[in-house]
Amino acid sequence: MTAAIRYEWTRLRTLRSTWWLTFGVLAVGVGFTAIAALIVRVNVHADELSGGRLDGDMARFYVEAAMTQFSIVDPMFYLVAFVAAIVGILGWGHEYRHGMIRATLTAVPQRWAVFSAKYLIVGLWVTALVVTSCLLSLLVAGVFFIGIDVTYDAGDILGTILRHVLYSVLVTWLAMSLTVLVRHQTFALVMLFLWPMGIELLVRTFAIMISGFSHNDVYANAMRFLPFNAGGRIMQTFGAQNDTFGPYHDLTTFGDPLSALGGFIVFGGLVACLIAAACAAFSTRDA
């Protein structure tokens, strides 16, 4: 296993695309944060401030929303995770596109080790990437909040970062598994964006239409189980409530909306199934 880890680590860091994507992720994160923080700064109303001080849920919302480019809000999505997942797609895609897989397996013939090491190293890379993106974004947001006394709990910040790490790693592993299964990085790349932003949107639209015509909400309500919709719930701790954004409280695991745990079970379950299918395919078919 250590041989595969050494191989994968060297493979990942000696590719220019890894670094371009890493800088891309950070640029997307920090850039969007700057815009988000600016919007927050301009729209923080004086009546929300108590003696120039912002605290409580509102402070938490502004800080975490700026840090995560509003992905804590249902139903926003976390673009950083999708850009980071491209690192994973290329991790497998290059193996097949450039015929590297045979060179890889003649250096490390234990397929389970190659497979595991790739998921582990890319997962760790994405973890470091998301943590760095969040911390840099927090720093940038802090610059925009100069002059406002914002109080927030470090534990909440850490929890939010961990939720985003978990979601990003799951999206990356899902993308990697798709690449292994189809052995075509362009297809996997298209699917990574088309699935949540096209296919799930269409399915949801049709479900709402059917519910509307049939006067039966069961179809629309079932849409909370769509994989990326459910996955987003891992991060989305705020939702629209009473004409403003407020934190979710007392959600049940598979209620509407799903709790973070419910979202993790649905999305994580799908990712686990895809990883198992990819592992079986990689272990048994010709290189």
């Binding site: 041989a3 595969a4 050494r6 191989y7 680590w9 060297t10 493979r11 000696t14 590719l15 220019r16 695309s17 290059h94 450039h98 015929g99 590297m100 045979r102 060179a103 397996l105 003649t106 250096a107 490390v108 013939p109 234990q110 048994t284 078919r285 010709d286 290189a287």
Partner: protein
């Protein structure tokens, strides 16, 4: 020592490789020959566990996949350009080396050995096919392995490169290594290989020393020039007794198969027949290969039909 036993592989019910068994002994270059589509590359992938199929292949007693650091035992070149186009040549080798705990210093050694030291920091996307092959060879040699499996390593090499490769592989074999190499360059193989494994349509056709293979050809013959061709032909025909043949290929020329030149000479001498020329023609590896694999070619081309005569040409 490579021991391949009963290797078999089929695609959609069609056998690509069927029951291949052979050995590659240390200290020899074993050539792997076969027409296009004969199953050579599939066999090599089966040997390394890259393809799923039947049979076993061991390298010094262990299957390839049982080695923790296989590049130190078996060096393989299977693809024409098996690298990422933007990862530098040095980094490509470094990536392979780190997995097998091969010192980075060895990377520079093999780059020098294959003549790529000057482009070690360049992206392989700018490499020619020949340079790509050299990088692939460098990867195969990285772990200083006892065994080499090389699929068409001469592809894309210039004449100097081919000469270098031949000398390199012979030198490696002389050091006691087992070298298993496929190639379509039969003249090169004739100069390089000690043993041959010849397959056609996935089945074994011949396996053994190169000399034994060429002896199988009917193109091996003795040429005799004599003013008494008819008389000598009758004597040879009687001596052959149906094994071999004698043909008049000119007024005073005979082509004989089935008899050695010295036997023909003795026969002429004993019967006071004057001989002006007595020579042996040995079939080349190419002649033997084309003759023996003639019916085993998966894909064959046909001679183009004669070009139709244009009206203008016809009018002239």
């Amino acid at each position: 020592m490579i021991e391949a036993r009963d290797l078999a592989k089929s695609y959609a019910g069609k056998a690509a490789v069927s029951g291949l068994s052979f050995d590659v002994r240390p200290g020899t270059v074993t050539g792997f020959l076969g027409p296009n589509g004969a199953g050579k590359s599939t066999t090599m992938r089966l040997m390394l566990g890259l393809d799923t199929g039947a049979g076993t292949c061991t390298f010094d007693g262990k299957p390839f996949t049982a080695y923790a650091e296989p590049m130190r035992e078996v060096g393989a070149l299977l693809e024409a350009k098996p690298f990422h186009p933007t990862r530098t040549a040095r980094n490509h080798l470094l990536m392979l080396a780190t997995s097998n705990r091969i010192p980075a210093q060895r990377v520079d050694e093999v780059l020098g050995l294959v003549g790529l030291a000057d482009v070690a920091g360049k992206k392989p996307s700018t490499f020619s096919l020949g340079m790509g092959q050299r990088l692939g060879l460098a990867a195969a040699l990285l772990g200083n392995p006892h065994t080499l499996i090389l699929d068409e390593p001469a592809n894309g090499l210039d004449p100097q490169g081919i000469h270098w490769l031949r000398e390199l592989l012979k030198a490696l074999a002389n050091e006691g290594r087992s070298v298993f190499v496929s190639s379509h360059l039969l003249s090169e193989m004739a100069l390089m290989a000690d043993e041959l494994v010849v397959i056609g349509k996935g089945r074994m056709i011949a396996n053994g020393p190169v000399e034994d293979f060429t002896k199988l050809s009917v193109r091996n013959h003795v040429l005799v020039r004599t003013p008494q061709a008819g008389e000598l032909a009758s004597l040879i025909g009687a001596k052959l007794a149906g094994v071999g043949s004698v043909q008049r290929t000119g007024d005073s020329e005979l082509t004989v198969t089935g008899l050695e030149a010295n036997a023909v000479g003795d026969l002429a001498f004993d019967n006071r027949i004057r001989v002006h020329e007595l020579s042996t023609h040995n079939a080349t590896l190419e002649e033997a290969f084309l003759e023996i694999t003639g019916n085993a070619a998966e894909y064959t081309a046909h001679a183009p039909a004669a070009a139709p005569t244009t009206p203008q040409e016809g009018a002239r």
